[in-house]
């Protein structure tokens, strides 16, 4: 598994440094600000989207549950990092590094966890917005491998962790619904929902 993971890493990371425009694009996608901000903007737009009140309420529940999924995924991620450490690809290998040297565990990938937690939480409520977020999350994950800071298995594990967190929050944590509806009701009273 490890050798296959490394072979796929080599295949994707091997393109880095060959085509400068592709490198610039990857550096735009890989940094901590571009895609994360875009994802936040999708959530902001989703909060106010919808022609009918029921449609809007579903979108607003999606936004609130996405934020809770993000918190849960981050909590599990911190726990994983406490008990498990995988060195980054550049630690023991010669790689084409297009990013700085992160010092935390390579597995699971933080950006993939965050991206897929938001994506799945939204996708379970609104397919259109979910697909848009899915594209952003996949770009985020691939750019991390391309730039040499994660193995493919790291982003797959991160995506799984994020997706699982979102699924638990949306489908299993129904006890939160009362509070979420209260938040939406409060926002509606001040004409913001």
């Amino acid at each position: 598994m490890g050798s296959f993971d490394f072979a796929v890493f080599r295949l994707i990371n091997g393109f880095a440094g060959r085509y400068p425009p592709l490198d610039h694009l990857a550096q735009l996608l890989v940094n901590d600000y571009f895609l994360t901000t875009l994802m936040s903007l999708v959530l902001l737009a989703l909060w106010f989207s919808g022609n009918a009140e029921t449609q809007r309420k579903r979108n607003q529940l999606a936004v609130l549950r996405a934020v809770i999924s993000l918190l849960l995924a981050n909590l599990v991620l911190k726990g994983c990092n406490l008990v498990f450490f995988r060195p980054r690809p550049f630690t023991y290998n010669q790689v084409n590094l297009l990013f700085y040297h992160p010092s935390d565990s390579s597995l699971p990938s933080n950006p993939a966890t965050v991206g897929f937690a938001l994506t799945v939480a939204v996708w379970l409520h609104n397919r259109k917005a979910g697909h848009l977020l899915l594209v952003l999350a996949i770009l985020f994950a691939i750019s991390r491998v391309y730039c040499g800071v994660h193995y493919p298995l790291d982003v797959i594990a991160g995506a799984g962790l994020g997706a699982l967190s979102a699924y638990i929050v949306v489908r299993k944590m129904r006890f939160l619904d009362l509070w979420l509806e209260k938040i939406i009701g409060l926002a509606r009273r001040i004409c913001l929902a």
Partner: protein, 158 residues
Amino acid sequence: MLYFVETYFAIHYLILAFLASLGTLQLVATCYELQGLSLIGLPRWSRWGYILGSALIAGGFIWFFLNTPNLLSPGPAGSELMVLMGLGTAVALVSTLTWASVREKIRVKQGNPLPEPDVNTRGLDLLREMSILQAWQQSRKLTPIEAKAHQPRHPEVQ
């Protein structure tokens, strides 16, 4: 609260969050015809709402990436980014609502009557016809019976 982020970076990211959120709000306001969230007023200028929204988002990103050094070096923690993004969005929302309220107040002063919303219209739907300030004033004028009519009649089941 902000331990890992430098002041210049926090300001730059706040400006990006503000501009991009402002742009996103304009796109949504134009798409769903929310007068109270629009900077330029609807529906006469609807095409300009999309142009303004896209320009604000693109402008925010271009400005940030051209003017912020060391973007590929260790930066703020995720939680710090969330705080900055939330702050920028909140400021953008308040600015938009305030601007739209001032614009609509001027419009009413110029002799354009305030539309009477349907008694069942509530929440964000009120912003289709008026500013948030006018919506709040309207709801304060309602008698308790009318106010009750604004409450949901059936709990919505997801």
